[in-house]
């Protein structure tokens, strides 16, 4: 982000005062990041775009919902996007994306330059975590990703995968514990 550009807090104040230009600046700043999360959950260009736009329209209409005391704006925005995308997934009655499946419509990767202005440290930790996820045995990675990006609970995972409940619980627990161990070894983890 160029130093002359207003920071997120200033833009949010302007948005709550009804300044549409401020929302467009924020949109330009975060659209790739929000779209990346929406696409990760939905695996559909049209739905991901709709969710992305809906998230910003809600920000326009309910911008005061973000509480700066509870974390960074970029993390809050991604969290809102994840829940909105999971809601849309359920509403459309679509099956969550399973790790290892290839997408029918591969998307153009964004350059780091397009994404880094958001929050360098969080982005770096998240990308490291993405690599750590790939080191998990595929059956553990599958349940972790379905739970996180598909919004499935233990019993929903068991039903979705056609596996006994105990097996699913064990895989999710082992996967998350391993991920935590890897993550604790990362120098910048837990910051």
């Amino acid at each position: 982000m160029a130093s002359s550009e207003p920071d997120d807090g200033v833009l949010l104040q302007r948005i709550s005062a009804g300044d549409g230009d401020a929302l467009l600046i924020l949109h330009k700043r975060y659209a790739n990041l929000v779209y990346s999360m929406a696409w990760r959950v939905l695996q559909d260009v049209g739905l991901a775009e709709e969710v992305t736009q809906d998230v910003f329209i809600k920000l326009w209409q309910q911008g005061q919902r973000y509480d700066a005391g509870r974390g960074r704006f970029s993390a809050w925005l991604l969290s809102v996007t994840r829940f909105a995308a999971i809601d849309r997934l359920r509403h459309e009655d679509r099956r969550p994306f399973v790790a290892g499946q290839s997408s029918d419509d591969p998307q153009a990767p964004a350059s780091l330059e397009q994404l880094l202005p958001t929050d360098h440290a969080s982005w770096e930790r998240g990308q490291h975590l993405r690599l750590l996820l790939e080191q998990l045995p595929v059956e553990q990675r599958q349940v972790v990703e379905l739970a996180y990006f598909g919004g499935l609970t233990h019993s929903e995972l068991a039903s979705y995968l056609g596996l006994p409940l105990g097996t699913v619980k064990g895989r999710l627990r082992l996967g998350l514990e391993k991920l935590r161990s890897f993550w604790l070894e990362v120098p910048e983890g837990r910051q």
């Binding site: 990041l33 910003f56 996180y148 993550w183």
Partner: protein, 240 residues
């Protein structure tokens, strides 16, 4: 359920992947187990970082231009709300002053009609006058989700208080919000109220004694009509 079993649920709980009955067990266990609380903190931080564990993808071309078009069609909700739901603390005093003015005008009219109505209107006016200069006490959310907050304006003689809440979830028809005045652990009902679809609500509380004699005020969700004692945890609370 044993500690080890519950501890095993913590990673999934942090991710939001436990079923409702499992979440309930974890939530009952957490207050008494520092080990599980520490584990939960780790897994919550891990879950937060996972938000950024997505492959970077470029948004479709022209997305910002399409956003601009949608924006032109969507006015901020603020501008669409009824005026009274937009009242915030800074506007409350002028709003109350306007209310007083209206009351005074109506009083003048009614003074000529009956002595009884005159006395009643004067009492209402003095009620609002007492609240205009009242100091504010803030009520905090137990677990803030959507910016819930409250402000209490207590009259100097402690005989009444105006409770204003913002950002509260609207309740179903069989539920209501109820104000509780707490003194030495005893809870006395201050009245019930509901909020608008935008989460705004008001209630004038007239305590049995002076407000100064109470330790705190809380608001809980109760069955419609209110309860004789709280049946759910408070959603807002503040020291008086």
């Amino acid at each position: 359920m044993e500690h080890e079993t519950i501890e095993g649920l913590i990673p999934a709980y942090a991710l939001g992947a436990t079923d409702p009955d499992e979440s309930h067990v974890v939530e009952e266990h957490l207050p008494s187990c520092s080990q599980c609380r520490a584990l939960l903190v780790d897994h919550r931080m891990l879950a937060d970082d996972m938000l950024f564990a997505v492959s970077p993808i470029s948004a479709p071309f022209g997305l910002t231009e399409r956003m601009q078009k949608r924006l032109e069609l969507a006015r901020p909700a603020e501008a669409q709300r009824p005026w009274w739901t937009r009242l915030r603390r800074g506007l409350l005093v002028p709003a109350l002053a306007a209310a007083i003015l209206l009351l005074v005008v109506s009083n003048v009219y009614w003074i000529g009609r009956t002595q009884g109505l005159e006395r009643r209107a004067t009492t209402q006016t003095s009620t609002f006058e007492a609240l205009v200069d009242a100091p504010a006490v803030y009520l905090q959310a137990n677990t803030a989700v959507a910016g819930e907050q409250g402000v209490v304006y207590a009259s100097s003689d402690g005989a009444l208080a105006l409770v204003c809440v913002y950002g509260m979830p609207a309740l179903p028809a069989d539920k209501t919000y109820q104000v509780w005045l707490v003194k030495d652990g005893r809870r006395e009902s201050g009245g019930v109220f509901n909020v608008s679809e935008y989460g705004f609500g008001l209630l004038v509380v007239r305590p049995q004694g002076s407000l100064d004699g109470y330790d705190s005020m809380g608001i809980s969700v109760e069955p419609a009509g209110g309860s004789s004692a709280p049946t759910s945890p408070h959603v807002l609370r503040g020291s008086l």
